[in-house]
């Protein structure tokens, strides 16, 4: 999971952020002002500074925020000048918008604010509906407004062309002031700010609601904030029935405000079409007489703080009932509270002004369990210890025992005076230099400071009581330990005190020493708090001084993603864990534990031992004889003959040592038929794949052999429980791998595939796999499962493997194997938690009748009023379950407006009848309508994958390499889920994750990309047109410009794959196309040649081998959709091949053969006359498409 940030402001107005993977508060040094309030969301952070202006901090992204401005140039033909800009008086403007109604000359386009810049000058868009115009972008028509074509005809009287120019938001990773353009309507400055609402609508992308409260208690909402307009456009006032002091807005439609009198206001009527909402409802304060001072809302929660610092949780809040039902008093005394993502809660303690995190907040237990103090140092406080940590890192000591806090470093420095200087003196110096001039904080009121001071006096008086600690109930402080361990450093103190001397001139020397000794490592509030208030002020003058517990004024978690499996290192800080996490971040492929000397030593010694003790004695008799081992069980089996049904069977696996010492086995299924006992058996070494098929009713799995693949009819078995199924699957897969001598991680040449359930399989290619003319039939390939859940996977022969999840998260293979469930042969390292999110859709169907209009009463012949997409299966909100027990719901049912064909404001799509083509607006001819409801579900699994944050992707491609090539930098291109093209930098076989993205500018969004062996990059735009990227090379990884390649006539392309030289594409109608005439000097090629239909996806390998996922493959028992097929007869001079060879399926979604650069041994064969393999094309069949289960059950 990528790290995200918690933002906080301390009582001096300094802004800090804390990463979920970090262990210290990072000071936001860019902020030149003190801030009062911050409101963070994932992409940015809003704030009110002490000058009462609103500031915005947009996080830099590798994909820039760019906006396309467009205008049209219109011309009319006249007999004298031909086409010219002399238009008729009734015509549109010579420069206009697309409708022609608005005058839009180029010079009228201005940057919206100084935070934008132009990317380049205006240029003509040559792309017209996916086709290149090649005529200066002109499109022709008879008259305005009319249908434009790219060809000039005899009757073309007018023409127009589109000019485009991009502007780019440049103010990233910095605080920028939002100009208050409406000075007259904003008479008083802002006092509070809150940001949310991003879950209300997807459209426009990144839409946010920003609510603010002015000093006079008025409420304002900032409109028009979205991805392309991060600053928003105008403030609109929202009338309130009182004086508001504070407001909070959740990710969804929840907005609560606090009135000056202590009551609460709840906003109602917020929705997609009305981000401002419509009315206010009042909610009383939880305790009579004690008003609310602070409120915080999430998706389904409301928390409040009353004047007596008590914390309250509101029961029963949700989107339908934004007011909730009642208050529950919670433990803890807080001054403010904030709800972040996943309804996680942060607060600032009343006593200690520390940031608290609410532990144990889950969807089922929204109120959480306990407050836990976030006890991490601020960045400069850690400089000393981090210095020693880094030196230890470089020395190669990664693990615990030796690495203790700075005390150890000091002991080391005793031995070496030079290091001592470095460790003890030099480091504090920059802190002092860094410190701003002494000043009294301006942000907080004087009374607040005095309150703080009185707080600490209170602490002094009860110093023998353990001071405030990690959690409220059991108070306990790490400081004492720190002090103890720091004691060796006392030796250093004289030299140190020299450096910090003046500040402490009025403090008694002994105290200064204790203070200094415990200083560099952590917080020593106790010692310094002995000093007077005057000294306290002095301490203030050194703001990064190690003496103080940070005192916080405000915290915002709106951008901070904490999930139940997130490991936070915020609560006890120890160097060793910090080291571990930093080391993990440094390298994806080599974990420190693997490289550790101790591990190497154990491996070496063990093999030495085995040699010593066994090598010369192998002729000795073994003490324990090996024998056959049988595991038995009962299961259900999907009978092979009709009527098909589940029958109870006895299941047994017999294992024995095979001929060459490897293990082998036979699987027996004993069943009764007509009262006769029968059995069938499968040799373990003939099993080609084990596929788990989880659904909500049965725990089933399928066993394929080459024969059963030909039949398209696997052996289907169901275990009684999931655990039992996993036990069997683990045992069977271990036996299969043993019998084939396969162990350890997948090789670099491995062929990867993904099923429609997101399961990942990998196969080890043999040299004979691509032999010509007699390759190993691909139904004999053995596939083993690798943990994880992916939609797309791509690899190359250097072992770089990337995947994309259903939720568009990018993952990189860690080099491990296994995971998925316990017991599967699996590497011990390199297995991580992986999550994926997808939507389940159901349809609400209605029919119109003349009396009541549209109702859910259909005709008797109609489909179910709640159904799946086909209408054949009844799917109600209540009976629809997640796809398998591994998935859990993570959202409620919501109307899906992003349906192909468009919807009306309520999400309805209309049609004349079921089933028909649906459109988004009601016409007179429509009698039925439907709308789609979506619900998100989430899977948590394990596998050898690590996330590559932060950009969600929709496609990737990795440079295919030859058998022996050594490439330092592996080219990797990707397409973001928004269609941006990206190029990954720093990808090598040792660092497969790479370092950063480079954005490659395009005029339109893309959906597919592929790079060939000599850096030929092809891409498919969302409108179905193909592009070739010029001048890409190892030296110029991003290339220079796009060449538009015309698509096959009338077809919109969908996917592209480029091998060594071959270029193949698949169009939206399932046709596979080969690009003719591609030569080194003319890499764009000349024309498309049709190869096959019924193709869903293509993968062209480094040997130009062509593999596809094909639909409607006929087996002897059944038909399969989503089948892995390989093109036969592909030779250097015959790159198109001649026929297909059918492999595993159906239910397969994706395959990549781009890692397999293993060339077959050359055998001379007479000629390829009578190949046994089918020379038929992919059979087409008009039978209805089966649902996409891997085994069709």
């Amino acid at each position: 999971m990528p790290s995200s940030l918690l933002w906080a402001v301390d009582v001096y107005g300094r802004v800090y952020s804390l990463s979920t993977s970090g262990q210290q508060w990072e000071h936001c040094r860019d902020a030149h002002l003190e801030f009062k309030r911050v409101a963070a969301v994932q992409q940015c952070c809003w704030s009110i500074a002490c000058d009462h202006n609103i500031y915005l901090y947009v996080h830099a992204s590798e994909v820039p925020i760019r906006y396309q401005e467009e205008t049209y140039e219109n011309q009319r033909w006249n007999p004298v000048d031909g086409f010219s800009d002399r238009l008729l008086p009734s015509d549109r403007w010579q420069w206009s918008d697309v409708t022609g109604l608005k005058h839009q000359p180029l010079v009228d386009f201005q940057l919206p604010s100084e935070n934008w810049e132009w990317e380049a000058d205006w240029y003509v868009d040559e792309n017209f509906g996916g086709e290149p115009t090649e005529k200066g972008g002109w499109t022709y028509a008879i008259d305005f407004p009319a249908t434009y074509t790219k060809d000039k005809k005899w009757n073309s009287c007018v023409r127009r062309r589109r000019w485009i120019r991009y502007r780019r938001y440049k103010a990233q990773d910095t605080w920028v002031k939002i100009p208050s353009e409406q000075t007259e309507s904003l008479p008083d400055p802002f006092n509070d700010i809150t940001c949310g609402g991003w879950e209300i609508t997807e459209e426009p992308r990144g839409c946010l609601a920003l609510w603010a409260v002015s000093l006079q208690g008025k409420v304002w909402v900032r409109c028009g904030i979205n991805h392309h307009n991060p600053e928003g456009s105008v403030w609109e006032e929202v009338p309130v029935p009182g004086e508001v002091v504070q407001i909070s807005c959740g990710p969804g439609d929840l907005v609560w405000a606090v009135l000056w009198e202590g009551h609460l206001l709840v906003r109602e009527g917020i929705g997609r079409d009305c981000l401002k909402g419509s009315s206010w409802v009042t909610v009383e304060s939880p305790s009579p007489g004690v008003g609310v001072v602070h409120v915080a809302v999430g998706v389904n929660v409301v928390w409040a703080v009353t004047k007596d610092h008590k914390v309250w949780f509101r029961r029963g809040v949700n989107s339908h009932n934004p007011c909730g039902s009642g208050w529950i008093g919670m433990v803890g005394e807080m001054v403010m509270i904030n709800v972040g993502l996943n309804d996680q809660v942060w607060a600032i303690g009343f006593e200690d002004r520390a940031v608290y995190f609410r532990q144990g907040v889950t969807a089922s237990e929204l109120s959480g369990k306990a407050w836990k103090v976030v006890s991490v140092p601020r960045d400069s406080e850690r400089s000393h210890s981090s210095a020693s940590a880094s030196s230890l890192q470089s020395a190669g000591c990664f693990f615990g025992g030796e690495v203790r806090l700075q005390s150890q470093a000091s002991v080391l420095s005793d031995a070496d005076p030079e290091t001592e200087r470095a460790g003890g003196e030099v480091v504090p110096t920059p802190e002092i230099g860094d410190a701003p001039k002494p000043r009294i904080p301006k942000v907080t009121s004087d009374s607040f400071i005095s309150e703080l001071v009185s707080d600490r006096e209170g602490q002094i008086s009860r110093r023998d009581v353990p001071p405030a600690g990690p959690s409220i109930p059991e108070e306990d402080h790490p400081e004492k330990e720190l002090e103890d361990r720091a004691s060796p450093a006392q030796v250093l103190s004289p030299s140190q005190s020299g450096g910090v001397d003046p500040q402490w001139s009025n403090v008694d020397l002994e105290e200064a020493q204790t203070h200094l000794t415990s200083g560099p490592g952590g917080d020593a509030a106790e010692t310094s708090s002995l000093s007077s208030v005057a000294t306290y002020n002095l301490a203030l003058e050194e703001p990064y001084g190690p003496d103080e517990h940070p005192k916080w004024a405000w915290v915002t978690g709106g951008g901070c993603l904490v999930e139940c499996h997130t490991q936070l290192n915020w609560f006890n800080t120890s160097i060793s864990t910090a080291l571990n996490s930093s080391m993990q971040a440094m390298s994806l492929s080599i974990t420190p534990a693997q490289t550790a000397a101790w591990r190497k030593q154990i491996f070496e010694q063990l093999s030495e031992r085995s040699k010593r003790e066994m090598e010369n004695f192998m002729h000795f008799e073994q003490a324990i004889e090996q024998s056959v081992w049988v595991k038995k069980g009962t299961m259900q089996w999907w009978r092979d003959w009709k009527p098909h049904k589940w029958v109870d069977v006895q299941f047994a696996l017999e294992q024995f040592s095979g001929a060459e010492g490897n293990k082998d086995g036979i699987l027996f299924i004993y069943y009764t038929f007509n009262d006769e006992k029968k059995y069938l058996h499968v040799f373990i070494n003939e099993v080609t794949i084990l596929v788990p098929v989880l659904n909500d009713s049965k725990h089933t799995f399928a066993i394929y052999t080459a024969e059963r693949t030909k039949q398209r009819w696997p052996m289907r078995l169901a275990a009684a429980t999931e655990l039992e199924m996993h036990d069997w699957l683990a045992l069977l897969s271990v036996s299969c791998c043993d019998s084939r001598g396969i162990q350890g991680p997948p090789s670099k040449q491995a062929i990867w595939s993904v099923t429609c359930k997101g399961d990942i399989f990998v196969s080890e290619p043999t040299k004979e796999l691509e032999a010509s003319p007699y390759p190993t039939p691909c139904d004999q390939m053995f596939w083993r499962q690798v943990g994880g859940h992916l939609r797309i996977i791509e690899s190359n022969s250097l072992g770089v493997v990337w995947g994309i999840g259903y939720d568009h998260t990018a993952w990189v293979h860690t080099g491990g194997y296994g995971g998925f469930f316990q017991g599967l042969a699996s590497s011990t390292d390199n297995i991580y938690t992986q999550t994926d999110v997808k939507c389940v859709y159901i349809y609400e169907n209605q029919r119109w009748n003349p009396v009541t209009g549209y109702t859910n009463r259909g005709l008797p012949t109609d489909r179910y009023m709640w159904s799946d997409a086909s209408g054949l299966k009844e799917c109600t909100k209540n009976n629809t379950k997640p796809p398998s027990p591994n998935w859990t719901w993570v959202s409620d049912w919501t109307i899906d407006y992003a349906v192909p064909g468009g919807t009306d404001r309520e999400g309805w799509q209309y049609a004349a009848d079921f089933p028909a083509s649906y459109h988004g607006n009601k016409t007179l001819k429509d009698f039925v309508r439907r709308r789609r409801w979506a619900r998100k579900c989430k899977l948590t699994t394990t596998g050898p994958w690590q996330e590559v944050p932060p950009i969600p992707l929709s496609d990737i491609t990795i440079l295919p390499c030859g058998p022996k090539s050594t490439v330092e930098q592996v080219s990797l291109w990707a397409i973001s889920n928004k269609g941006d093209i990206l190029c990954r930098l720093g990808v090598t076989s040792l660092t497969p994750g790479g370092s950063s993205w480079l954005h490659v500018g395009t005029d339109q969004p893309f959906k597919s990309i592929s790079i060939g062996a000599v850096h030929q990059v092809w891409a498919i735009a969302k409108d179905g047109s193909a592009f070739y990227r010029g001048s890409v090379s190892a030296q110029n990884p991003a290339g220079d410009c796009w060449y538009h390649i015309p698509s096959p006539t009338g077809q919109k392309l969908k996917q592209v794959s480029v091998g060594r030289t071959s270029v193949y594409t698949v169009d939206e109608n399932g046709n596979l196309w080969y690009r003719h005439g591609v030569t080194p000097s003319y890499p764009q090629g000349s024309s498309w040649e049709h190869i096959s239909n019924n193709v869903r996806k293509v993968s062209v390998g480094p040997l130009d081998q062509v593999w596809v996922i094909a639909d409607k493959v006929q087996g002897s028992h059944s038909l399969s959709c989503g089948t892995v097929c390989r093109r036969l007869g592909v030779l250097p001079m015959e790159p198109k091949g001649h026929s297909w060879d059918y492999g595993i399926g159906g239910g397969w979604d994706h395959i990549t053969v781009r890692g397999n650069a293993m060339e077959a041994p050359r055998i001379l064969m007479p000629s390829l006359t009578d190949t046994q393999t089918a020379t038929r094309p992919l059979q087409t069949n008009n039978q209805p498409e089966m649902n996409g289960n891997p085994v069709g059950c």
Binding site: G401, N572, T577, A593, A597, F617, I624, S827
Partner: protein, 275 residues
């Protein structure tokens, strides 16, 4: 780079070549040939020496035979210690095969436990596993297992079935990620020159401050003499499964990978050879 899984296999399939000779004190009908056998390091002597017994019984009269016991250079070999531990403790740095003397008389009642049948070994083995799990997981994992699961562990060991054993044993090796290891590490430290059978104490894999503790940390606490300063000559060897892991090896890793099937990490401390 080899995988940690390979360590488990190497540990499991460790074999010691042994040469069994009948004690000269025994009366035989004819001369007894020595018997050669590869002993699994992780098993127990009485579990794997049926063949030895049969071999020697052939040359003996039934009335001369009492319970068989084994001895190496005058030291009776305790069957309830894993074979590898016995070898490391008494016979490291000696020539192979390991010369073990077989006795059928004068059972050393003070030194050895009787072992009437394999069920005694099974009971001992299971009680070790339970004790280890009590240390690791308060016994929760082993108690959650069914009788057949316990049997699978034992049968795995008895029949030398690595997969069968580890299919179950991996559950005993799990721990909550956030804890960073077991509750306590089940370990025993053996030494030849002490009367104490072995040292066993509560020891956590992670320090209260969150540091990963190592073999060195364990020894520092329980057997400081085993750790020598750089300049001193090495006095002791710390041997696990016939190898000497580096002192910075994390104790949790050792417990997961170099434990015997009884789930204990058996550490032998022997005097360094003076050569």
């Amino acid at each position: 780079m080899a995988d940690d899984k390979d360590v488990l296999r190497d540990v499991w399939f460790g074999r010691i070549p042994a040469c069994f000779t009948l004690s000269p004190e025994e009366t035989t009908e004819r001369e007894a040939e020595p018997y050669y056998l590869l002993l699994p390091r992780v098993s127990y002597l009485t579990l794997v020496t049926d063949k030895v017994k049969k071999h020697f019984l052939r040359v003996m009269k039934a009335e001369d035979v009492e319970e068989m016991w084994l001895e190496y250079e005058g030291t009776p070999l305790k069957w309830h210690y894993p074979i590898g531990v016995l070898f490391d403790l008494h016979a490291s740095n000696t020539a192979l095969p390991w010369n073990v003397t077989v006795h059928f008389k004068n059972f050393p009642e003070d030194d050895l436990l009787h072992c009437a049948s394999n069920s005694v070994i099974e009971a001992h083995f299971m009680s070790c596993i339970k004790e280890a799990d009590a240390l690791k997981h308060k016994g929760q994992v082993i108690n959650d297992m069914q009788k057949k699961d316990h049997k699978q562990l034992w049968m795995g060991l008895q029949n030398d079935k690595f997969d069968q054993f580890w299919a179950m044993n991996r559950k005993l090796m799990e721990y909550p990620t956030e804890e960073g290891g077991f509750r306590y590490i089940p370990f025993r430290i053996y030494q030849t020159m002490s009367d104490r059978p072995f040292i066993q104490k509560l020891f956590r894999p992670v320090s209260p401050e969150g540091h990963t503790l190592t073999l060195g940390d364990l020894l520092k606490e329980l057997f400081p003499a085993a750790i020598c300063a750089e300049d001193e000559p090495k006095r002791f060897q710390v041997v696990i499964h016939g190898i000497e892991p580096l002192l910075e090896t994390p104790i949790q890793w050792l417990s997961e990978h170099l434990s015997h099937p009884d789930n204990f990490l058996h550490i032998s401390i022997i005097p360094a050879p003076s050569d």
